[in-house]
Symmetry: C2
Subunit: 372 residues, 2 copies
């Protein structure tokens, strides 16, 4: 670790560097974790010490954040001593066990797993939409929404504020990195199998056979080939034929937007895209909405970029959105047969706004509290 700054005790007796709060990043070595280190480096530096934490297997690795080398520490209760804010990007069961431990040690936990999102005592926060709820955290835990839900919350929040959302029908086009680095690796492994193999994709099962012949029966994070295919399954199987991902879109949208009776149907589909989820959204409002008014409201939203001039070839795509902060919205259309209804297409980087960026934004709300 190299730093020109010295660690000093502030008036509260914590070990805050330069009086700034201490942050722990749990899951620093994962797909979201590495995006997080980039985001922490790019954004205004509100943190004193940044402690990187991962499983014992990854402890001792050296990662770079804010231009400094930082040694990864193993996940133990003691690692949270002196930590003000602990971000978690780890599996549900790890968060369920460790977020409360971080809280016991004095940190506020910002958790990107599904473990606490629907807990009525845990706020589910998108800073642009319901940031004020971050202050009401009886368990000391704040949840970060699911990446698919997050893709559309900024845009829908801006529209809901004026026209009051009542119904959502959503179909997703979800990227491989939603399944983490193994998802990305698998996609590229499969693409290498199919790329030179013109003629594939004309007979049922030929892609699956080609992939199995080259990659063996090794485990894939996807239940069918993703190259030259789309897979209408994301998450686990729930009652009624719904997937966990589809129910998250419904339940988390209701909680974030504060519309307990919002009517939602979602179909979640994986597509062979590296990173950035896209959504086709059919949104119905309580009041009359026009495309022009909607476009103006979206353009005024700070975290939304509007790309909506089809005649000029201007529309959102995941490959044109990835790596950026804004939610990109386009294909705005007044539904021809449904009153008060807008059809639109939304793209958002699932590792950034869909995960690391929103988590960082929540943590910054807390940093502002600590330094206020």
């Amino acid at each position: 670790m190299s730093t020109q700054e010295s660690t000093v005790s502030d008036q509260n007796g914590t070990g805050r560097r330069n009086g700034k709060p201490t942050l722990a990043v749990v899951g620093a070595t994962g797909a979201v974790g590495s995006v997080m280190l980039g985001i922490l480096t790019e954004r205004e530096d509100v943190w004193g010490e940044i402690r990187l934490v991962a499983s014992a297997r990854s402890a001792g690795k050296v990662l770079r954040v804010r231009g400094e080398d930082v040694v990864v520490q193993a996940l133990t209760p003691e690692v949270f001593d002196g930590v003000d804010v602990a971000m978690f990007d780890v599996p549900d069961e790890v968060s369920a066990e460790w977020a409360p431990i971080a809280v016991e040690r004095g940190a506020v936990a910002v958790d990107n797993s599904g473990a606490f999102r629907m807990d009525p005592d845990v706020p589910l926060v998108v800073p642009e939409v319901n940031g004020e709820q971050a202050r009401n955290r009886p368990k000391g835990i704040i949840s970060n929404p699911n990446c698919t839900t997050l893709t559309m919350m900024d845009a829908l929040g801006a529209l809901h504020a004026r026209w009051r959302l009542t119904e959502l029908v959503v179909a997703s086009y979800q990227a491989a990195s939603g399944a983490g680095q193994p998802g990305v690796d698998r996609l590229y492994d499969e693409l290498e199998v199919v790329a030179g193999n013109r003629g594939l994709g004309q007979r049922a099962g030929d892609v699956a056979e080609a992939v199995a012949a080259k990659l063996g029966d090794g485990p894939s994070p996807f239940p069918a080939p993703l190259a030259l295919n789309v897979v209408p399954v994301a998450g686990s199987v729930k009652d009624g034929g719904w997937t966990s991902e589809e129910l998250k879109v419904r339940n988390e949208s209701r909680k974030i937007l504060g519309i307990p009776d919002l009517r939602v149907s979602a179909t979640c589909v994986r597509v062979p895209v590296q990173t950035t989820h896209s959504l086709a959204v059919h949104a119905t409002f309580a009041e009359e909405i026009t495309v022009e008014e909607a476009r103006a409201a979206l353009e005024a939203a700070p975290s939304v970029e509007v790309l909506d001039d089809l005649a000029a070839g201007v529309f959102p795509t995941p490959a044109g959105t990835v790596g950026g902060d804004p939610t990109v919205v386009g294909r705005l259309r007044q539904a021809l047969d449904f009153p008060n209804t807008l059809d639109l297409f939304v793209c958002g980087d699932n590792l950034r706004k869909g995960a690391a960026l929103n988590t960082a934004q929540i943590a910054e709300l807390l940093a502002a509290e600590f330094t206020a």
Copy 2:
């Protein structure tokens, strides 16, 4: 041309081989045309002579159908002399000009372009749904629906017959071959660029840059890269920000199902799949519908295959559907918040049921008339 059968004149003075009607396939050398030749070879042989027709550029080529070599003839008025049924799979403007010429020369035209579909004097036919309308053809022309609409007509027709469809919200996942062989070639060209290039797809525009660097600025049938991407544009730009493809889904569904006031919103998106369109469908009915009853009705439909057991890993995908005749349906779910509403996922081969197969089925209805 080799055949053991002799051409004889029947009592009507036409040159029908074995008393069977004569078929012309116009556009025989295209992507749909070559699938058509396979379909004509596989299906029950109801045709006497099969005449293959294409642009002057392709005249003289020899193609194989029903195990025979057939020389492609140039498109001229005379080529339709003695023809009973003329199938067209050519651009709109070619159909608009030539289908009436075929009719003048005594043929019934079955047209797979958009030129006549919404003409009130031209039936738009899916044999399993409204086959009886093929007999009422004041202009001597029958239209074959757009491939995206066709993907769901068999399934929705079976459900509409019992529960009366009132609303459709559709998002599509359309294959590259919907843009013909140039679409397929472009997809494979782009896949070869990106496949070994791990790290692509993390920064906005990097896929487009890599593709442009390798493939140059050569024309693509798609308005954005398709590899590692999805493109929310198919067809041409129409009023209100809608695309021609999205309006076809609305207007053709209304006409085929005979529901002039059906409420429809569609968002049409191209995905990096070779062949087979998929649709996420949110369908509302006038009467209460359950998943169990819907599944039974779909299983009873002759041209629909139900793959719907998510817990057992059974669901439709385009790569598992391509090359087959049935529409494959799964992910059946009762909408949680919308009465009388079913969410489902449908896959259909856009070159077969979406084009050549349905055209062949319409032509067979006509063949049965001629030989009755």
